[in-house]
């Protein structure tokens, strides 16, 4: 019949002037079809529709639930409110004097794969339910008219239009349902989404990853009951099933989104698990932000961050002394060919830095590809690397202060003015930079773990380029070189002074070692340094046998300490129970969130300088503690000094693989990632921004 009406219209409507007449004509035909179908129940193509109401309406209570029951042929389906990639939700319009009918209540649906698309709807029978209320005008009867439009599909779709009428008596105290309809009603009422408070989960966060065009919903709560979720917004969120992964704190659901459609501020989901559904409405989308810069940014932004992070590395106490030596060699270069010499030095140094970063990046990516759950800074989770660095800084410091002059020492190599030495300085600069993850680097390095190999490598090289850039610029620019101070005795004084930051670094590395392997680690490390100093002193002897003995002493000292370190047990984590900070425990966190307690997690490590500074200046101050206390915040210190699988996973869920990371979960749900450099203000703001009230 629709085919007929369409043919009729298309023949008469060629001239554009007639199009509006055609439209009216067409609409009239549709309406007349609809009128013809007006009845208490109707039978249409592949679907039968009838009322789901009491046989007689009771006077009390005035609030009712009524329904429209769609009995659908096998393999055919009708739609949920968000129909998915194709199809359409049914439409309902009610007219009644005696009954005010509210917005439809949609039982939770299922995903229906249709060819290359995903629809969201119901295969089999479904009852769309409606809240309804008797009005003042309700006397003895209820009359009700419903104008319906629906779409029933298999692969093809058939639209339907109909008007259903209803005429029922009002009387008695309560509604009189037939047993069959009462069962149907109860069945579908049980499938209506409940309030999200009743669900086992809370929304941890909802983030839009613009690069991947994915929306990431984290649900915090118990595991073992895998949920899925249906988006209400079909315009932005793809209908295809989300990728669900279990995390330490619950679940993470990744939805694809429609590329090109602007992300809304808020969106809604119906979460379904084990035959029950909950409505999570008005969830605020946050761009995954940190330090005002979204961490899942375009590659260009990440590269810029890496570059900036690299530049800042130059100022780190561990790197600066090494660079200054290199700088002296530039200052001393003079006379003929000095400019060309400087350029060569700068380029070779840059090559050394980039090569080493490429190698480190390669190792990192290979380990990652091999499935190792590692993060940046992983090199400092190994006691041997820490001991090695301590020895390196110790030797450098002794040399700086003039305790010895090495004929062919590393530092002389670095300071000597030739290409090979410049390359070596570049390599050295990267190694001494290893303990210092500066600001900006976290976001870039975190992303490198999630990116494919090529862009990840680009980020490592970007970091290297940043580290090399200031020195390269100084070397190749004649204008800048001219600004360098004249050589003189001040250089010797400065060099001696620079030994002290290096000594400080040694102290810190020994402390890291003790955190890694316990107090014995400190003793072993310090003894090793003592013996190495002794060996260095001995090696200056005139006698050959003493020199040989010195080498032997150094070698034995290293071997013995490595062997001893191996036997050491990891210390019991001493995050004191007396302290207000609790060790990382996913169950404790989930439990706190369930009962509506706010949680602050400090992802930290002993080898992370920024972490230690933040701890001393902000987190462990009386004011911060008072604030946390006052708002009943569960404080968690996730100590990543040693490798810890749970913490690595939790960091990965935040798209990070380095520390520090500070996360605040307000009591009311949501999530806030704080900047890597904390201030007291950033803590205060947490409690102004989120009204943290015990629920």
């Amino acid at each position: 019949m629709q085919q007929g009406s369409y043919m009729l219209v298309s023949r008469v409507s060629r001239p554009a002037v007639l199009s509006s007449i055609a439209l009216i004509l067409f609409a009239v035909i549709f309406l007349s079809a609809a009128v013809a179908l007006a009845d208490e129940n109707i039978e249409a193509d592949h679907v039968r529709i009838r009322w789901l109401t009491p046989e007689q309406f009771g006077e009390n209570p005035a609030e009712k639930t009524i329904g429209l029951y769609f009995e659908v042929d096998e393999e055919w389906h009708v739609y949920w409110r968000n129909a998915g990639d194709s199809g359409a939700a049914p439409r309902f319009a009610f007219t009644s004097e005696q009954l005010a009918v509210g917005e439809p209540l949609w039982p939770y649906p299922e995903r229906l794969p249709i060819a290359h698309l995903t629809n969201i709807g119901y295969e089999g029978n479904v009852a769309y339910l409606f809240p309804a209320r008797l009005t003042d005008k309700a006397g003895e009867r209820v009359t009700l008219k419903a104008d319906l439009e629906w779409l029933v599909c298999k692969e093809e779709c058939i639209p339907g239009f109909a008007t259903l009428t209803l005429d029922r008596l009002i009387g008695g105290d309560s509604d009189q349902w037939s047993a069959q309809d009462a069962d149907i009603l109860a069945h579908f009422q049980a499938r209506l989404p409940q309030a999200s408070d009743n669900s086992p989960w809370r929304v941890g966060s909802l983030e839009f990853d613009e690069t991947a065009a994915q929306l990431i919903l984290t649900l915090q709560g118990p595991a073992g009951l895998e949920p899925t979720a249906y988006p209400l917004d079909g315009n932005f969120v793809s209908a295809a099933a989300p990728e669900v992964t279990e995390t330490a704190q619950g679940y993470q659901l990744r939805f694809n989104t429609a590329r090109g459609v602007a992300a809304p501020d808020k969106t809604d989901f119906v979460v379904v698990a084990d035959g029950a559904a909950w409505a999570f409405s008005n969830i605020t989308l946050s761009a995954p932000a940190t330090f005002a810069v979204p961490e899942t940014q375009s590659l260009l932004v990440l590269l810029l961050l890496a570059f900036a992070g690299g530049i800042i590395l130059n100022l780190m106490p561990c790197v600066f002394p090494v660079l200054s030596i290199k700088l002296f060699s530039l200052i001393q270069a003079s006379g003929q060919g000095a400019a060309a010499h400087r350029v060569r030095e700068g380029v070779m140094y840059t090559a050394g830095v980039l090569m080493t970063f490429a190698l480190l990046g390669g190792v990192f990516l290979v380990l990652l590809a091999g499935g190792a759950a590692i993060g940046w800074g992983f090199q400092l989770q190994s006691p041997w690397v820490v001991v090695g660095l301590a020895v390196l800084f110790w030797v450098m410091a002794l040399s700086f202060i003039g305790a010895f002059e090495f004929g062919h020492s590393l530092m002389n190599l670095a300071g000597r003015a030739n290409s090979r030495s410049s390359f070596a300085t570049g390599v050295l600069a990267v190694f001494v930079a290893a303990p210092c993850t500066g600001p900006f680097m976290g976001a870039a390095l975190g992303a490198s773990a999630t990116l494919p190999a090529l862009p990840a490598m680009a980020i490592f090289l970007g970091l290297g380029a940043g580290l090399a850039a200031p020195f390269l610029l100084l070397a190749v620019s004649p204008g800048l070189s001219a600004l360098l101070p004249r050589p003189g005795p001040w250089m010797e004084t400065l060099r001696q002074f620079l030994a002290f930051p290096l000594f400080a670094t040694v102290i810190w590395l020994l402390w890291v070692l003790s955190r890694l392997v316990g107090d014995d680690g400190w003793l072993i490390g310090a003894s090793l340094l003592l013996l190495i100093a002794l060996a260095i002193w001995l090696v200056r002897s005139e006698r050959r046998w003493v020199r040989a003995g010195a080498w032997a002493l150094g070698l034995v000292a290293i071997l013995v300490s490595v062997q001893r370190l191996q036997t050491l047990e990891a210390p019991v984590t001493a995050t004191a129970s007396a302290s207000a900070w609790q060790p990382f425990d996913t169950q404790q966190i989930a439990a706190a969130q369930q009962k509506g307690q706010a949680v602050f997690i400090d992802y930290t490590a002993a080898w992370c300088i920024t972490c230690q500074v933040n701890k001393k200046l902000v987190l462990d101050t009386d004011e911060a503690n008072a604030l946390f206390e006052q708002h009943d915040v569960l404080r968690i210190r996730a100590d990543w000094t040693r490798y810890d699988e749970n913490i690595t996973q939790a960091l990965a869920a935040l798209n990070r693989n380095s520390v520090p990371v500070y996360v605040f979960y307000p009591a009311g749900g949501g999530r806030e990632i704080l900047p890597q450099i904390l201030t007291m203000d950033s803590i205060r703001e947490l409690f102004n921004e989120f009204s943290v009230e015990p629920q």
Binding site: S13, F26, A27, F30, L117, E155, C157, N235, A258, M457
Partner: protein, 204 residues
């Protein structure tokens, strides 16, 4: 020096690779996917043929109720007439596979076009292999795309904002395609560059 060159070279190469991967997706703001498809009269059309012109792509299936909504009401043909009169090119594509609903042999397609008063710039483009449809990630009939003279996609999605199959709703619907075309022809950017298409599944 050699090493530096190698590293810089590798860096540049990786960036270039990235940009290659990024193209060939039907996303507003990105270059439109290329196509080369014969129309029912046997003439081949490709994206390059329309360089320098505004181009509308429309997916069609004569038996789809939503296509009928817009053709039966003459809504689609009116749009085709209105905008081709302003110099916009309009191609209507059938991606139904052989044996599936909406598939036509060329001769039959010419007749269907005539019966539907198709007012596009060419007879139906026949894409029974689905190559063009899949390149554009065309999901439904009608699914609409607008491509600018530089070959960049500026709109992808539904024809309007009402996914009812009832043609009576057309006068009260916001027509996204008409709005976008009016904007671009007036030299303005498209305010709604992407929407969820509605209609029948394309029968690939």
């Amino acid at each position: 020096m050699k090493i530096v060159k190698c590293l810089l070279g590798g860096f540049a190469a990786s960036l270039m690779l990235l940009s290659v991967f990024a193209s060939a997706e039907a996303v507003p703001g990105k270059p439109a996917p290329d196509f080369s498809v014969k129309d029912a009269a046997g003439k081949t059309h490709s994206l390059a043929d329309y360089k320098g012109e505004w181009l509308v792509l429309e997916w069609f299936n004569k038996d789809c109720p939503y296509v009928r909504k817009h053709y039966g009401s003459n809504n689609m043909q009116s749009l085709q007439e209105k905008y081709t009169a302003q110099g916009v090119k309009w191609l209507t594509i059938i991606s139904s596979a052989k044996g599936k609903q909406g598939y036509h042999e060329p001769e039959e397609a010419l007749e269907v076009g005539k019966a539907h008063n198709l007012a596009a710039s060419a007879p139906f483009l026949l894409d029974p292999s689905g190559t063009m449809g899949k390149a554009y990630d065309a999901k439904t009939t009608p699914h609409m795309y607008i491509i600018n003279p530089e070959g960049t996609l500026v709109y992808a999605g539904a024809i309007d904002d009402n996914d009812s199959a009832n043609p009576a709703v057309i006068p009260d619907s916001k027509n996204y395609v008409a709005a976008a075309l009016d904007e671009v022809l007036a030299g303005k950017p498209v305010s709604t560059p992407a929407t969820r298409p509605y209609g029948c599944t394309i029968k690939y």
